[in-house]
Symmetry: C2
Subunit: 245 residues, 2 copies
């Protein structure tokens, strides 16, 4: 079994470490790669081929883990050479996933939830051949969502939509509480139903979002453009809220 | 120590049971009360005086636990006869609390969070003399929020505002997930960060709200009229959402 990587950043490097099996061989290429990626590759001692075209052709599973912006171009350039499964792990939109699907025979779209270098990352996958990747369950949690490439992208967006809108609500609630000098009491009273870690988790979400409200707002815009048929009220008001900062 | 009750429903009856002390005597009146209340009083075997005026005058702590609608009238009628602490436990707005404060010498506003007949109800109180009620901590959890009567009302509204708006977000997220046939997967993926009981808790909130969306919307309107200086975005959109059902 040969697993090929296009892109060899944190995700790929950690996957190569997690999938610790004698039956699996890893390949990639340094064609056009950055110095830091080449360093990563050298440290990992995985086999290096001259071109990504050869990597694609030789791989039973070709993993694209580059960047959301490059994902579609990578698929267009190398998808046609892939003879096995093409697993896209870039954090891409549903639109990009469906675009990639046009250029790739056996697309599986995937997302790693939880930090890849944590104890328990979970790999969510969907696509016609997704269940063929279940053997990876030996190395990390694998959940097959459906046979429809794109469903993981939808799920990722749904999750992101929920947590970002929740954070907008937390910011608003915190502001009202602050106005009445009752922040701590607010967290305490809501903890009774939301759990003991409510305060810590909420403050970390608020801080994290207010550090970069513009980027979060952009992400919400992407979510809205993907989901909205005019029925989104809460998510749109979260966007309005974040645009105030 | 004499504790008097105006209103003898679930809250009063359970409090009289919880405060199980030889040093405390309970009084109330059946003046103008309903049959079911009189039955409650008979079963509890607390002392019955001819009038609430006498109950108010005799009590060290006078507890008003009637109904949100009656709370202000009760305060107007009997507040002036209360010589001790007047503890209002009705689920009233900040506006009503401040109205009551005009008719009562030593107002403490309180709220019981968690079910009164559960293992661990918590009594939140605020007001100048609130700390004098800390002796009740022997019988149930007591938290003094501040010396300002009305702060508990604000806190109650804040909590209610947060959970109702959260539920509107849950409904919207659930609807998008449903449209993509990914409800279970949505709950599962969000559980990774929100805790194992996320699905159960969320579905119960959604069901509970959609059973009576009008009433929930009215409660949101009250919250908005109390808090809004034009800056509420999330809470207002929750109202808009609930008004669709």
């Amino acid at each position: 079994m040969i697993i090929g990587f296009i892109g060899f950043g944190k995700v790929s490097r950690n996957l190569a470490e997690l999938i610790d099996s004698e039956d699996v061989e890893f390949i990639t290429s340094i064609e056009g790669r950055s110095d830091s990626t080449i360093e990563n590759i050298d440290e990992s001692k995985i086999e290096v081929l001259p071109t990504f075209k050869e990597v694609a052709a030789k791989s039973d599973i070709l993993i694209s883990a580059t960047s959301p912006k490059a994902a579609a171009d990578v698929a267009k350039a190398y998808g046609k050479f892939a003879s096995g499964i093409y697993l896209d792990l870039n954090n891409i939109s549903l639109e990009t996933t469906l675009e990639i699907d046009k250029h790739v025979e056996n697309l599986v779209d995937g997302a790693i939830i939880g930090k890849i270098d944590s104890d328990n990352p979970t790999l969510y996958i969907s696509g016609k051949t997704a269940s063929k990747l279940l053997f990876l369950d030996e190395f990390l949690d694998v959940k097959v969502i459906s046979e429809k490439a794109g469903d993981v992208a939808v799920l990722k967006l749904l999750r992101s939509s929920y947590t970002k809108t929740l954070t907008a609500l937390l910011i608003e609630s915190f502001e009202i509480a602050q106005k009445h000098d009752l922040e701590n009491e607010f967290f305490e009273i809501v903890s009774l139903t939301e759990g003991d870690d409510f305060k810590e988790k909420s403050l970390s979400r608020i801080t994290n979002t207010l550090k970069n409200p513009k980027r979060k707002a952009e992400e919400l815009e992407e979510i809205i453009s993907c989901f909205d048929d005019g029925e989104l009220i809460m998510v749109k008001s979260a966007l309005e809220k974040l645009n105030q900062y």
